[in-house]
């Protein structure tokens, strides 16, 4: 069962020495942090490592968190920075993270899905298309639709201007739409 206390209250309890309060914070944000990490990682193990690293970094720097922004925005900034650093380190000698052709992400199937085309819902195809996007595009889409983040907050997380986020979001949605249509077309062709 998750705590009903606000993020700020849990942070205050953590800073007062109550580690179980931080465990509640982790439980509350772990799904989103893990999902963001999955946008960059090549495997669930890598994503788990990134997400764990982020929560440890956040714990260590918790006293420097200024309550002007939401805790989630601050946490996602750590996730974005850590994931980008990890990705760069792992690919430094091979290829570019900005090259869509070289970015091969794992097929991330949510539990409960089967390969049977009849059982695949529209959500499955959207998830599949997101996993084919570049990390930056997938991150913007995830932060905007699932992270309840405004354009300004996404800008803060990614270290860019809000107007740039607006343009990037527009392009990311276009690419996602294209991938979705292509995947559905491919699926229909396979059925025929």
């Amino acid at each position: 069962m998750q705590s009903k206390l606000s993020d700020i209250e849990l942070i205050e309890q953590t800073l007062a020495g109550d580690q179980s309060a931080y465990a509640d914070l982790v439980k509350r944000h772990q799904r989103f942090v893990f999902t963001l990490a999955m946008r960059f990682a090549k495997s669930r193990e890598d994503a788990e490592e990134i997400a764990q690293d982020c929560f440890i970094k956040a714990y260590k720097s918790l006293d420097s968190f200024q309550r002007q922004a939401k805790f989630s925005t601050w946490l996602y900034t750590i996730v974005y920075t850590t994931a980008m650093t990890t990705l760069r380190k792992k690919r430094v000698a091979t290829d570019s993270i900005d090259d869509e052709d070289t970015f091969v992400q794992i097929e991330n199937k949510p539990s409960g899905y089967e390969d049977n085309a009849e059982n695949k819902s529209r959500t499955f195809y959207v998830d599949q298309a997101i996993n084919q996007l570049l990390p930056d595009d997938a991150t913007i889409i995830t932060l905007f639709y699932k992270g309840e983040q405004s354009l300004e907050e996404i800008a803060q997380t990614m270290g860019i201007e809000a107007n740039t986020v607006k343009v990037k979001l527009f392009r990311a949605r276009q690419r996602l739409k294209e991938k979705l249509e292509r995947n559905l077309k491919h699926e229909v062709n396979e059925l025929i």
Binding site: E48, A51, I78, T81, V126, L180
Partner: protein, 173 residues
């Protein structure tokens, strides 16, 4: 000039100005092409909103807290010293100094005449037998340990500052 799609996304997201919102809503009502595109984007928006979050492993929270506990256990001794111990040591020194002062004052001959009072004689204890070779070796050993501890603290602080800078620079960007 924004494309129809861009205008409509701004309208759906609510990021357009009130005047633009009004103008786009009129276009959707009156223009068939706008209306068709709007419905298409609205459906896509609903699909994007329905994205599912990934589920981390069952033991994720436990693993994070375990890692934090391990890191906490490795923290330098300085960070784990109880404040009461420091206060206790301080109290011990204050009491000792007070006791010496009280003893010194109590041993003064207050009834002595003015002439003799100016001729107070202090007898210094003979320290030569305390400064034996093993004592000096112990002193030097303690100095080396303290120097190594200080160097270790400096290196840890340097490494922590480096890590904090990378976290904070991410936060400020």
């Amino acid at each position: 000039m924004n494309s129809i799609e861009e205008k409509l996304w701004n309208y759906i997201d609510g990021t357009a100005s009130p005047e633009e919102q009004h103008a786009i809503s009129l276009l959707i009502e009156q223009d068939e092409a706008y209306r068709k595109k709007y419905r298409e984007l609205l459906a896509l928006n609903a699909e994007f909103t329905a994205i599912e979050l990934d589920e981390p492993p069952m033991a994720f929270t436990y693993n994070v807290m375990e890692a934090i506990r391990n890191e906490h256990a490795q923290a330098p001794l300085k960070a784990r010293v109880n404040l009461n111990i420091i206060k206790g040591i301080g109290l011990f020194f204050v009491l000792t100094i007070s006791a010496i002062l009280i003893f010194a004052l109590a041993s003064v001959n207050w009834s002595a005449s003015a002439d003799t009072a100016t001729q107070v004689k202090f007898t210094m204890p003979n320290m030569s037998h305390y400064l034996t070779s093993p004592l000096m070796q112990g002193f030097w050993f303690l100095d080396i340990v303290l120097a190594l501890y200080t160097f270790d603290t400096y290196l840890r602080k340097k490494s922590n500052t480096k890590m904090d800078t990378s976290v904070h620079s991410g936060g400020q960007n």
